[in-house]
């Protein structure tokens, strides 16, 4: 049952975005009896709608509103209008994610202390203790049904994993397995994985966790959550006391509405969330909402990424089965003797032929390129994901020369690699290629990063209001009833895929908001 709340109901919590952060927060609050209106810019697509076709699915799900890029990252050259590969739909990027669900390592909550000063990096410790997060990680793993946690079995290894594992073991790696995945290895509330592939295109079986068909309908069933899809938030409004009072949004027909609110939670991913705060500038807040620190939009992180593909003299058929169920964790440790701080994970990855043509060597042509694709059936692949350094100059700004469909300035995404990112990527390329060469690769491809899927840090969490945008609860330092609920809160990025941590933070934030509402302090 869907709860209809009035536009003038000023007691509701308004959540902007319905992905890993917003979708989970909406359900968790609804379960506690809090009235929630969730506004989602995209439409509602469910497993029966998802498409086993890379470009068709991209057209169905991807966020394709106007964006621009700058900086020395190759994405700015190869995909200048597409800095990120994220989703505009109910469920957000949880429709697209691969399901890798890893906890931060304890030391990664305290990167500044652990790593010490790194020139050009704006490192800071999270204002959260790893012990404080442990019970929320337990809850998040149970919610997502993460394999290899809570007594759940791992997924079986597919062909791509078998090659990866054999190479890893030949190299002496010890922490090698089919991952901790939010993809069922046995039938439960969701069915077991059918090894279909196309995890990135939305799981048609619903075997992978996505808020679109778990938390969102669960929240709606309470009668306390109303999700309005194709409701694109344009601006957050505030009163003379500086408290936020509601949000202005455009519906599917472009008609604008003002939804009043007692609390507003921003969860539009790390490009749109800071953009919305900046686009909500007013006479009282001329630099944007919650931006007294000047940190809104800064410290944009995207993880140090890259891929390694390799060709063999025999078929692999890497596209068969789970896209990312395979991991080597030995390199995720902090060990500066390798020439960089922080660490990285190596995870199996497969692309279909159409995306391989687009991403293997963007801009590449001629026989060097085409002989690679002709070996597609004999290819194995892995993705590199490591901690990148937060830099103040890597940031989301408003591009006043480019407007979106509502006439608002588009976001520009500026990113330059930090020398630590480059050193870590080169190390990871070396190790990734060695993994495959150990099992007889005839040719290897150290492949550049794709448009970002892990977008982090642009409204970062800090102990001191001077250093960041939100406190340890995701509450903005400047405005008590304005929260940030997505990966833009991340103080630092750690080496792990971020979704599990976003979910754990959302569960924790729901506890806090419900308690504060109960006390009458919000």
């Amino acid at each position: 049952m869907t709860a209809p709340f009035d536009l003038n109901d000023d007691q509701v919590v308004v959540i902007i975005g319905t992905g890993a952060g917003g979708g989970v927060l909406a359900n968790e609050l609804a379960q506690k009896g809090v009235h929630v209106v969730a506004l989602e810019a995209g439409g509602r697509h469910l497993p029966q709608d998802y498409i086993n076709d890379e470009w068709d699915s991209f057209g169905q799900l991807a966020w394709l509103d106007a964006r621009t890029t700058s900086g020395d990252w190759r994405v700015a050259k190869d995909f200048s209008g597409l800095p990120a590969w994220i989703v505009k739909a109910v469920g957000g990027t949880t429709t697209h994610w691969a399901g890798a669900s890893l906890r931060f390592q304890d030391h990664e909550w305290k990167a500044a202390t652990t790593y010490g000063p790194v020139q050009g990096a704006n490192l800071l410790d999270w204002p959260i203790d790893p012990a404080e997060m442990a019970p929320y990680y337990d809850k998040a793993e149970d919610k997502l049904g993460v394999t290899r946690t809570g007594g759940r079995d791992g997924l079986p290894g597919n062909n791509n994993y078998k090659v990866f594992e054999a190479g890893a073991k030949a190299l002496g790696y010890k922490q090698v397995h089919t991952g901790r995945m939010a993809i069922n290895s046995a039938d439960g509330d969701r069915v077991a994985c059918k090894q279909t592939g196309f995890c990135f295109q939305g799981c048609k079986w619903g075997a992978k966790w996505s808020s679109a068909y778990t938390d969102i309908p669960q929240g709606e069933a309470t009668g306390n959550l109303e999700v309005r899809d194709r409701a694109h938030v344009l601006k957050i409004e505030h009163d003379d006391s500086g408290r936020v009072t509601g949000v202005l949004y455009a519906d599917a027909d472009g008609n604008q509405h003002l939804q009043k609110a007692r609390v507003v939670c921003v969860a539009g991913n790390s490009i749109e969330s800071p953009r919305l705060l900046l686009n909500s500038a007013s006479n009282m807040f001329p630099d944007g909402l919650a931006n007294s620190s000047g940190q809104v939009g800064r410290n944009y992180m995207r993880h140090m990424t890259g891929s390694v593909y390799a060709m063999f003299d025999k078929p692999v058929k890497m596209w068969r089965g789970t896209t990312m169920a395979g991991i080597i964790q030995d390199e995720s440790r902090h060990d500066p003797s390798r020439g960089f701080v922080g660490g990285y994970e190596l995870e199996t990855l497969a692309l279909g032929l159409p995306f391989m043509a687009a991403f293997l060597d963007p801009g590449g042509w001629g026989r060097e390129f085409t002989t690679a694709l002709e070996g597609y059936e004999n290819m194995a692949g892995m993705w590199i994901v490591g901690e990148d350094m937060p830099q103040e100059t890597n940031r989301i700004t408003l591009n006043h020369d480019v407007k979106d469909q509502y006439g608002l300035p588009a976001p520009n995404v500026h990113f330059d690699d930090h020398p630590n990112d480059v050193a870590m990527r080169n190390h990871a390329y070396g190790q990734g290629m060695a993994v495959y060469e150990a099992v007889g690769a005839t040719r290897v491809f150290p492949t550049p990063p794709y448009p970002s899927t892990h977008n982090l840090g642009t409204n970062r969490m800090s102990e001191n209001p001077r250093d960041g945008v939100v406190n340890k609860w995701g509450q903005t330092h400047d405005i008590a009833n304005l929260f940030v609920s997505d990966g833009s809160q991340f103080t630092t990025g750690a080496a792990e895929n971020p979704t599990l941590t976003i979910v754990a933070l959302a569960i924790r934030q729901a506890d806090h908001i419900a308690a504060e509402l109960g006390r009458g302090t919000l």
């Binding site: 086993n52 076709d53 470009w55 079986p156 290894g157 597919n158 062909n159 994993y161 078998k162 090659v163 054999a166 994985c193 059918k194 090894q195 279909t196 592939g197 196309f198 048609k204 079986w205 025999k314 078929p315 692999v316 058929k317 596209w319 068969r320 089965g321 279909g352 032929l353 159409p354 043509a357 687009a358 801009g363 042509w365 001629g366 026989r367 390129f369 085409t370 694709l373 002709e374 597609y376 059936e377 099992v439």
Partner: protein
């Protein structure tokens, strides 16, 4: 593209055309493969321009096991009123470069190596990048091309690979 059942028509076209390079026959309003395996009627582009564009497409992404018909399909969309002038200008430039290198035209070069040299010299141009970028989807997103690379496409309707070989390799 003309359908298979129209092969007789293609044979008729062949008799009405002239050779363009080694692979193509062009005539008024059409270009066809010399083997008559495919044919394309044109409304906006000069037939020789289209033949050159198809050769250029193959030289950018050469796959010897992929027939010309797939390259022709990948660039057929340029035969429209809006884009044809850009293509005519670009191909004229390519032919001029070929003539500067001592060939009668781009299509008149014998070796792929010579054509690739001409393309390398213009690879930063908007024309080249438009054609190359369009081919990434125009060629590789043709479902009929996928089996030529071993790619199996969608699998949901077949129940995924859980019972169809997701872990069937034995060589590792």
């Amino acid at each position: 593209m003309l359908e298979e059942r129209q092969k007789l028509t293609r044979r008729t076209l062949l008799s009405r055309g002239v050779a363009a390079g080694a692979a193509f026959i062009v005539g008024t309003g059409f270009v066809t493969g010399r083997d008559a395996a495919w044919a394309m009627e044109l409304e906006h582009l000069q037939p020789t321009t289209m033949a050159t564009l198809i050769q250029m497409a193959r030289d950018i992404y050469p796959h010897d096991h992929v027939a010309d018909a797939f390259y022709a399909a990948a660039v057929k969309g340029y035969d429209d009123a809006e884009r044809a002038p850009i293509i005519e200008t670009g191909i004229a430039g390519l032919d001029a470069a070929a003539q500067g290198a001592g060939f009668a035209s781009y299509l008149a070069t014998g070796w792929e190596r010579d054509r690739v040299d001409l393309l390398r010299a213009m690879e930063d141009s908007a024309f080249f990048q438009t054609v190359r970028g369009g081919l990434v989807t125009g060629l590789y997103n043709q479902k009929a091309v996928w089996p030529l690379f071993g790619y199996e496409g969608e699998s949901y309707s077949k129940g995924g690979y859980i019972d169809r070989g997701f872990d069937d390799i034995t060589w590792v």
